[in-house]
């Protein structure tokens, strides 16, 4: 088996196998949608992101327990964010962090002119702290879902958390429901990376690619493949993200 195919296969196995049972379907993988989980619902979602630059470079995994608290509020616990890297000096699997995510829905994407939700995530690991704040906007036009996320990320790392970096991200996506079970669409991602929060060192990356989602009875799977269009050195040329979810 060719190397990238083999690594993608093992990455998929790592996500799918622990998820014996699992809902609230996602139409995108890099973009969040405005509606929140129904109150009392419990879901497990597993994420796998594989990156390629001249072949496989690394894979990222997240395992999320999502809880619907009220009609407009949901909370999630990411039990483990970990990665597998192929780099010679750091080869292998490493635990990265655990996270708490809160989403509050303000308006409905069908009944209101635009659906808005607010998102906050805090991640903490060994010598690592990250805050991610998002504005989620969505409009449903019949079977078409249009979604936009504006994200501000702040990261503190290393000893005494002395290294600090920032990132501003915009993501735009469209997903069309061709049938009640299948959706296809596209996602675009624009990242502005701010090392040490200095705009003079800012790095712009732009990714675009298709997505597809399938909803089963009580489970769903969504996959997006993005290609980098900016040619930034040190950033992945391609990345593929898969999310598999099941209602408990």
């Amino acid at each position: 088996m060719r190397q990238p195919v083999k690594h993608t296969f093992w990455a998929l196995c790592a996500v799918l196998l622990p998820s014996i049972c699992f809902a609230g379907a996602r139409h995108f993988t890099f973009i969040y949608e405005a509606p929140t989980s129904p109150p009392g619902s419990l879901e497990i979602e597993s994420y796998a992101t594989t990156r390629f630059s001249d072949g496989f470079t690394d894979a990222n995994f997240r395992h999320e327990l999502e809880i619907g608290i009220t009609e407009h509020f949901q909370a999630s616990i990411y039990l483990a964010n970990w990665d597998y890297t192929r780099a010679r000096e750091n080869r292998g699997a490493h635990y990265d962090s655990s996270s708490l995510e809160l989403i509050y829905n303000l308006t409905n994407p069908v009944a209101d002119p635009i659906g808005i939700s607010l998102y906050q995530e805090i991640s903490a690991g060994r010598r690592f702290l990250e805050s991610e704040t998002k504005l989620i906007a969505q409009k449903n036009v019949g079977p078409l879902i249009l979604a936009y996320n504006l994200t501000l990320e702040a990261e503190w790392a290393e000893e005494s958390l002395r290294e600090h970096n920032g990132e501003i991200q915009q993501a735009l996506g469209a997903s069309y429901e061709v049938s009640p079970r299948i959706s296809v669409g596209a996602e675009m991602l624009h990242e502005i990376i701010l090392p040490h929060w200095h705009s003079s060192e800012a790095e712009n990356n732009f990714f675009v690619g298709p997505n597809v989602s399938y909803r089963g009875n009580g489970w769903f799977v969504t996959v997006t493949a993005l290609a980098q269009t900016t040619g930034t050195e040190g950033e992945a040329d391609y990345q593929v993200r898969l999310i598999f979810g099941v209602s408990l």
Partner: protein, 116 residues
């Protein structure tokens, strides 16, 4: 990826979006508000305006979590109960929520008054 192929990619995505947007506008209207016609259609189910309103609210809030909302006239009065029941578990609907959504969809599935 070079600049030429990048522009072609973005162009393709944007054109597809525009076509899908135009096609989807046929279904732009949100689920109908509770009206005298709906109240009249709901009489065989012995449902009042407040219950229909609650059914509409729940339909908008819960069903969107997994899929876009179909046109309410896409299915008829007899088809809706089965469809709602099939998805109730996944949407975590209580028995009363399920009933409210079903009554609203049965009443709104026809825009004309249902003969009694």
């Amino acid at each position: 990826m070079n600049t030429g192929s990048c522009s072609r990619w973005v162009g393709c995505v944007v054109s597809t979006l525009v076509i899908l947007f135009i096609a989807s506008c046929a279904n732009l209207a949100p689920p109908p508000e509770v009206s005298p016609v709906l109240i009249s259609n709901a009489r065989p189910d012995h449902v009042d305006a407040a219950q229909l309103q609650e059914g509409r609210r729940l339909f908008l809030a819960h069903c969107l979590e997994c899929h876009t909302l179909p046109r309410v006239t896409k299915y008829n009065r007899e088809q809706w109960p089965h469809l709602v029941s099939r998805m109730a578990g996944r949407a975590n609907l209580s028995a009363s929520d399920q009933k409210a959504i079903t009554f609203y969809l049965r009443a709104s599935s026809s825009t004309t008054i249902v003969p009694r």
